[in-house]
């Protein structure tokens, strides 16, 4: 490169990112000398707090790790504990957990698309600016978000830190009347979600192709949400209990988050990884719509995460509609559980990707050790790799403001939930 430039860009507070992080970028002689996504969210030591707590307390504690995806935390935890106790809560509970999870995907993805991501692609600072010009689309987005929240509240009484889940099932089965009231709104939501996908498919996204490994759950029949095996785009196919044989968490000094690596390489989890690996598990209506809109998966363009989220909103609303239409009230929304000593694993697909839990419990059902690997710590290595590649492809000779905006856009595209990423510490204290 002829031009010589030393640039140091520091973005101290990343806008439209959940949690707090910063980016340090040093460009020297036309090359990236240093690039660090700094996470300075203080550690909240949740895994330590869980030790000694009864299994009955775990779902309400782990929810507090993340206010955007509390359902995912509760689901990975109850599955792990039920596995340790040898409990099968049966088909009613399984269906309702899927419904609950649909609610979380819908609200989280709708929030991300409209409030956090689209302003970048349409050239606004925030949703309020965007609302002036795209009033109808923004209102539709807020309605979808609300609908997701209301599905969660049907089963959990509120959408943030819902109170309905327990080991063995649910505390409460919704009344038929509440289900009947929600069903027509969900049916309308299906149409709105299809319109959202059509709209998103028409938005010009950066054309940036990259090589990366996708990792997600895969189930014989379902689009992956709360069960299945862990698979990767390079052919990996393992039981969730074997996670540690292939994935490793490391402490990177510039961050309070641990970075997870797959066979010592960064990897991708989340909506794009899921759709890349499981597009054949989408409902026929959704696949049809993809054909109509000309959107192709698998995709190696990270910016297609936006479309993947829209696809998953559509899929989730169809699933929610079917589950609500088939709903039957029960007087026993949970099965009794008997604690026993053992180890259990839980792995579900949080809106942002694989959320892996492992619990060791004693004979009274108290937590001996807990380990939680959240999506954002898995994606962090990938984000840094992506930033490097995309900024080089974008051209380092752009001015600082343009580089900064592109870097922020890349980061926001992963919907990083920085609060989640920093609460997880594996610990071995040796005292002498």
């Amino acid at each position: 490169m002829s031009e010589q430039r030393d640039i140091r860009i520091r973005v101290p507070v990343l806008a439209r990112v959940e949690g707090e992080g910063a980016l340090n970028l040093t460009i020297h002689d036309g090359d990236i000398e240093q690039l660090q996504l700094q996470i300075y969210e203080p550690p909240r030591y949740f895994e330590k707090f869980l030790e000694g707590r009864s299994y009955t307390e775990v779902p309400d504690m782990v929810a507090r790790i993340c206010g955007i995806c509390p359902v995912a935390y509760q689901m990975s935890a109850v599955h792990a504990i039920e596995q340790a106790f040898g409990v099968d809560p049966g088909p009613w509970v399984r269906d309702m957990r899927r419904l609950l999870y649909c609610g979380e995907w819908i609200q989280s993805h709708a929030l991300h698309i409209h409030l956090l991501a689209l302003p970048d692609f349409l050239g606004f600072d925030s949703v309020t600016g965007m609302a002036a010009e795209h009033a109808e689309e923004v209102r539709r987005g807020l309605r979808l978000q609300q609908l997701g929240n209301d599905i969660i509240a049907l089963l959990g009484a509120r959408s943030v830190h819902p109170v309905g889940s327990r080991v063995g099932g649910f505390h409460h089965a919704p009344d038929q009347a509440a289900v009947d009231a929600l069903l027509p709104r969900v049916a309308r939501g299906v149409e709105e979600a299809a319109a959202l996908l059509r709209w998103c498919a028409g938005i010009a996204l950066p054309d940036d192709h990259q090589a990366f490994t996708s990792v997600a759950l895969r189930h014989p029949a379902e689009y992956p949400m709360n069960r299945g095996r862990l698979v990767a785009s390079d052919g990996l196919d393992i039981d969730i209990a074997d996670f540690d044989d292939h994935f490793e968490e490391q402490h990177v000094p510039h961050s309070t988050a641990l970075h997870a690596r797959y066979h010592d390489r960064p990897y991708l989890v989340g909506p794009l990884a899921r759709i890349n690996l499981d597009a054949d598990r989408l409902r026929p209506e959704v696949r049809q719509l993809l054909v109509e809109t000309g959107v192709r998966f698998p995709s190696d363009n990270m910016f297609h995460s936006l479309l993947a989220r829209a696809v998953e909103i559509h899929e989730s609303l169809l699933e929610a509609r079917d589950l609500l239409a088939a709903y039957r009230h029960t007087d026993r929304p949970w099965v009794p559980v008997t604690p026993r000593a053992g180890v259990g694993f839980g792995c579900t697909e949080a809106p942002r990707g694989v959320l892996w839990h492992r619990y060791e419990l004693d004979e009274a059902g108290r937590v001996v050790t807990a380990r939680i690997v959240p999506p954002t710590s898995q994606n962090q290595g990938r984000i840094e790799q992506d930033l490097r590649d995309s900024l080089l492809a974008f051209g380092l000779d752009h001015d600082d403001a343009a580089l900064r905006l592109r870097a922020e856009t890349v980061i926001r595209n992963y919907d990083p939930c920085i609060s989640c990423a920093t609460h997880f510490l594996r610990l071995e204290v040796e005292r002498r």
Binding site: P43, D60, A157, V160, H161, H171, Q250, S419
Partner: protein
């Protein structure tokens, strides 16, 4: 604030799960309306970033758990006419206040390859331990009704929502079946501040006190009641040391049932 300028509002985050900020982001139409009535000048999660802005109302989510946060909250206070705490973390330290009962340095040094990068205080403490707070909102999370009422109250002088009663009384008003009497569940409703609408008992489960201690509540009597239900002392202690464990009333109640 000049007469015709819109009031300026900021939302600041400290150690938290982001759940309380969602009271704004989940408000839907009300959020767009609010954005029309006030100038939201700092709200990193929603877009505007200007942490040093001088504002009329600063909403603060999260507890103080690092030296940097301690400095930042002082600056927020200096720049704000009213400071409102948003939820359990900001108001009583949140679940992570449990760290005050343990030795965090041991943890950090054992875990991180480079502990010098981890700046952590021994406690995760409420905002009011550090600066003057004008209005405290309880709840984990706070709900939209509380937040919008707080804005109305500060800007238009409407009296704030009265949440001094107990969840237990709310149950009676809602005609919810008492889960302690009928199912023998260790419900915290008798000592927990109202504001949620008695969500848990109405779902057939015990309240776990996510809205913090109610005023003048008899934690000693509740502890004995829980003992009568068959809970061992350690379980009674844990009941008080949950989401609102940092509240002095609950710390004191827990101490009656054993030390860490």
């Amino acid at each position: 604030m000049t007469a015709d300028a819109k009031p300026r509002v900021a939302v600041h985050k400290f150690s938290s799960c982001d759940g309380c900020q969602l009271a704004f982001l989940n408000a839907g139409e009300a959020l767009l309306e609010l954005a029309g009535l006030v100038d939201i000048v700092h709200f990193a999660e929603a877009g505007p970033v200007d942490p040093a802005a001088v504002v009329d109302i600063a909403f603060v989510e999260g507890s103080i758990s690092t030296p940097e946060e301690r400095e930042r909250i002082a600056a927020v206070r200096a720049n704000s006419r009213y400071l409102v705490t948003l939820g359990a973390c900001a108001t009583s330290g949140g679940l992570q206040a449990l760290r005050g009962l343990a030795d965090v340095n041991d943890w950090t040094e054992a875990i991180y390859a480079s502990p010098e990068y981890i700046h952590s205080l021994a406690e995760a403490s409420p905002i009011a331990d550090h600066v003057k707070v004008d209005l405290q909102l309880w709840g984990c999370p706070v709900n939209g009704r509380q937040v919008l009422a707080a804005v109305a109250s500060l800007l238009q002088g409407v009296p704030p929502v009265d949440d001094r009663g107990k969840v237990c009384q709310q149950c009676k008003r809602e005609q919810a079946v008492c889960v302690m009497v009928t199912q023998g569940l260790p419900c915290m409703g008798p000592v927990t501040r109202t504001g949620c609408g008695a969500l848990c008992p109405r779902f057939g489960r015990d309240c776990y006190a996510c809205f913090g201690p109610a005023e003048n509540s008899n934690t000693t009597a509740l502890g004995r009641r829980l003992e009568g239900l068959g809970l061992p002392p350690e379980a009674i202690r844990r009941r008080f040391l949950f989401i609102s464990n940092g509240a002095p009333e609950f710390r004191a109640a827990a101490a009656q049932w054993g030390e860490e």
